[in-house]
C-alpha cells in the first residue's frame, strides 16, 4: 500500500472543512501529475488543487483580509465573552479562550515578545504575543483567559496571535488537563502528544540539533528532533516515552515532531512491540544494473562513494588507496512493478556464493578485471526467483535479508484446486 503524502491529506481536510467530500483518487492523480510530471512545488500544487476544487464546488474561500474586530465591549459592561474550545478554532476568527500555558519560549524576533503553547480540555495550540501589545509574558503552568485574540494559519497549522487589542487575565484555576495521546499514524501538523518507543537515534548533522531519531508506536513511526538550545531530557534507544505537546511540522512533505522543551515522561512500565516496517518483495531478477559485482569505494572517512575505473571520487578526486566492496544492483520484477534493489556485501556473498576475497582474486587475474564479476553473476541470477525484505529509500529498495525461492507447492495445490472447480 502506498502512503498518501501529507499534503494530499491536508487538501482533503480543507475540503471537508468547506463541506466538500474530497475525491481522493482524483486529488491524488492531480497531485502526482503536478508534482511528479511537471515538477510543481508542493505548496503550489496544493494551492492549485484547492483553487480548482473550490471553483468546481462554487465556494469562495475566505481570503486573508482584514476583518474588523468585534466592537470592543465597554469595560464597564459585565457580559463575559463567549469562550471557544481550541479544537473548534477556525482561521481568521476572533476568539476568547480559557487556557493553561504548557510551555513558553523567547523568540529571536523583537516584534514578538513571547511564543509558547497553550491548551484547554480539547486541544493545544501555539500562541504568539506581539511586543507592541505590551502584554506581559505568560507564566508556564498558569491559567488565563485570553479575549479577542486572532486565529492565524501558517503552513497549514493554526496559531493564536495575541495583539494590542487582546485582553489577557490570569485566573485562579487548578483544573487538570489531560492531553489526548495521538496514535503516531494520525499525527497531523500542529501540537500533539504521543507515546512511543525510541527505535533509532542518529548522529545530529548540525550543531543546532541536540538529538534526533525515530519514535514509533504500534501504528507508525515519526522522526523527532530536540534543538540544542532547549532544556529537554535526552532520550535513550529502546525506551518508551510519553511526550506532551510536541509540535509536529511538515518539511518537504515529511512529518517530524519537535520535542524541544516538551514535558517528557519515561514509561518503564510500558512495553511496545513495534511492527516491522520492512516490506517484502517476491519476484524474478530481470536486469543486473551497472555498478554491480566488485566495486572500489572512496576510503575517506564517511564517504564510501563508489569510484570510477580511474579511481576517481566525485568529491575527493583521485583515491589510489581504494577499498574493495561487493554489491548487487538489480531490477527485481514481481510482474506488477519493477523494483530497483540494492544488495550489500554480506547478503551478496551468501546469495552468489562468492566472497569478497574470491572476487578480488578473480578480478586481479582476469583480463576483464572487475567487470568479470558482473559478467559471471549476470547469467547466474537473471530470471531467478527470490524473496527479499528491506526498506525502500527514494527510488531504491535496500535489501536487509534475501532468500532464493523454491517452488511453493502449497500455492500450486491451491491454484490447481481453484481452477479445477470451475473447469
Amino acid at each position: 500500500m502506498e502512503i498518501l503524502p501529507m499534503s494530499i491529506k491536508t487538501i482533503s481536510q480543507k475540503l471537508r472543512e468547506h463541506g466538500i467530500t474530497p475525491d481522493s483518487s482524483r486529488i491524488e492523480s492531480e497531485y502526482n501529475r503536478l508534482t511528479k510530471e511537471f515538477g510543481v512545488p508542493i505548496k503550489e500544487a496544493v494551492r492549485t488543487i484547492l483553487d480548482r476544487e473550490y471553483k468546481d464546488n462554487n465556494i469562495t474561500p475566505v481570503k486573508k483580509e482584514y476583518i474588523a474586530p468585534p466592537p470592543r465591549d465597554n469595560p464597564s459592561d459585565n457580559n463575559a465573552p463567549e469562550l471557544c474550545n481550541i479544537d473548534s478554532l477556525k482561521k481568521d476568527e476572533w476568539v476568547s479562550l480559557k487556557v493553561k500555558v504548557v510551555s513558553t519560549r523567547n523568540t529571536p524576533s523583537s516584534a514578538v515578545s513571547q511564543m509558547g503553547i497553550i491548551t484547554d480540555q480539547t486541544a493545544a495550540i501555539k500562541y504568539v504575543i506581539f511586543s507592541k501589545s505590551n502584554i506581559p509574558p505568560l507564566e508556564q503552568g498558569a491559567w488565563y483567559t485570553i479575549e479577542s485574540a486572532v486565529v492565524d494559519e501558517y503552513n497549514g497549522v493554526l496559531n493564536l496571535k495575541i495583539h494590542a487589542g487582546s485582553t489577557v487575565t490570569k485566573i485562579d484555576c487548578s483544573d487538570p488537563v489531560s492531553p489526548l495521546i495521538s496514535p503516531i499514524e494520525h499525527v497531523a501538523p500542529g501540537i500533539t502528544s504521543i507515546q512511543g518507543k525510541v527505535t533509532q537515534i542518529w548522529e545530529p548533522f548540525s550543531d543546532k540539533i541536540a538529538q534526533t531519531g525515530i519514535i514509533a508506536d504500534t501504528t507508525g513511526s515519526i522522526k523527532f528532533t530536540t534543538w540544542a538550545n532547549s532544556e529537554t531530557m535526552v532520550l535513550e534507544k529502546d525506551k518508551v516515552y510519553t511526550i506532551y505537546f510536541a509540535s509536529a511540522d511538515l518539511y518537504k512533505d515529511k512529518l517530524s515532531v519537535n520535542i524541544s522543551n516538551c514535558a517528557i515522561v519515561e514509561n518503564d512500565d510500558i512495553t511496545i512491540d513495534i511492527k516491522s516496517t520492512e516490506q517484502t518483495i517476491t519476484g524474478a531478477f530481470v536486469q543486473v544494473s551497472s555498478g554491480s559485482g566488485l566495486i572500489k569505494r572512496c576510503p575517506v572517512e564517511g564517504c564510501k562513494r563508489p569510484l570510477t575505473r580511474q579511481n576517481f571520487c566525485q568529491i575527493h578526486e583521485m583515491q589510489p588507496n581504494y577499498i574493495y566492496d561487493l554489491r548487487l544492483r538489480a531490477v527485481l520484477d514481481d510482474g506488477i512493478t519493477a523494483h530497483s534493489v540494492l544488495i550489500q556485501r554480506q547478503i551478496f556473498e551468501k546469495l552468489i556464493g562468492m566472497t569478497l576475497d574470491e572476487a578480488i582474486e578473480i578480478a586481479e587475474s582476469q583480463p576483464l578485471g572487475m567487470s568479470e564479476i558482473e559478467y559471471r553473476i549476470t547469467p547466474q541470477i537473471l530470471g531467478k526467483y527470490i524473496t527479499v525484505s528491506g526498506k525502500p529509500f527514494e527510488d531504491l529498495f535496500i535489501v536487509n535479508s534475501a532468500e532464493w525461492s523454491t517452488l511453493d507447492t502449497a500455492k500450486l495445490t491451491t491454484l490447481i484446486n481453484e481452477t479445477g472447480e470451475s473447469a
Partner: protein, 185 residues
C-alpha cells in the same frame, strides 16, 4: 518543464497462448519514445515480458546484419524470440547457448503483419540466459497466478460483453489448470 520521471515497465507474466491472441497494440502517448503495449486477452496490457522454458530452436539468420531467432515453449504453446544487432548483449548471450536447454528470457513484445494479413507475435530479447528446471516451474506457477489475477480484474472493471468475458474466463481457467498439472509435485 521537468522531464517525467522514468518508470521501468514491469515484465508481465503470460503464457504463449495468451500472447498469440493479444494482437492489438496501442501507445499511451504520442511521444516518440512512448512504449508500445499489447492489449491482453485476460485484460491489462504488456510491453515487456518474462519467459522461462525450454529453448527448442536456435537459428542464426544472416541478413544484412546477423540476427538470432529461436523458439521457447511453455505448456500452452511457443514464444518466437529474436535478438539482432540492436540488442548486442542479448545476441551474445543467445549465441553462447547450446539448445535445447532451459532458458529465462526478458524482452519486449513485437507484432507484425504477414503478407496474408495474419498478425504474428514475437519477442525482441533484452536478455536470454540458461536456467534450471526449478526456475521454469516457479515461472509457470507465477504466470498462472498473475494470469488468474488479471482475470479477476476484468470481472470488476469491465462488464460490457458479459458473454464473451465469461467464455474467456472459462477458457483461461481451463488452460491454467492444465498448465499447472504439468508441474511435477
Amino acid at each position: 518543464m521537468k522531464p517525467t520521471s522514468y518508470t521501468r515497465e514491469p515484465a508481465v507474466r503470460l503464457f504463449a497462448k495468451e500472447l498469440a491472441g493479444s494482437t492489438e497494440s496501442f501507445k499511451e502517448s504520442n511521444d516518440d519514445k512512448a512504449p508500445t503495449f499489447h492489449k491482453l486477452v485476460t485484460g491489462g496490457k504488456a510491453n515487456r515480458i518474462l519467459i522461462s522454458g525450454p529453448l527448442i530452436i536456435k537459428e542464426k539468420k544472416d541478413y544484412s546484419t546477423p540476427m538470432y531467432v529461436g523458439k521457447i515453449t511453455d505448456p500452452t504453446g511457443t514464444f518466437y524470440v529474436n535478438a539482432g544487432s540492436y540488442q548486442p548483449e542479448a545476441m551474445q548471450q543467445f549465441a553462447k547457448l547450446n539448445y535445447p536447454c532451459f532458458v529465462t528470457a526478458i524482452g519486449k513484445i513485437n507484432s507484425y503483419e504477414t503478407d496474408k494479413g495474419n498478425v504474428m507475435m514475437s519477442v525482441r530479447l533484452e536478455s536470454i540466459t540458461e536456467t534450471d528446471e526449478s526456475t521454469v516451474h516457479q515461472w509457470i506457477l507465477d504466470t498462472a497466478d498473475l494470469t488468474l489475477k488479471r482475470l479477476e480484474q476484468i470481472e470488476t472493471t469491465n462488464d460490457t460483453r458479459p458473454d464473451e468475458i465469461r467464455l474467456t474466463k472459462e477458457k483461461v481457467k481451463v488452460m491454467v489448470h492444465e498448465t499447472l498439472l504439468k508441474i511435477p509435485l
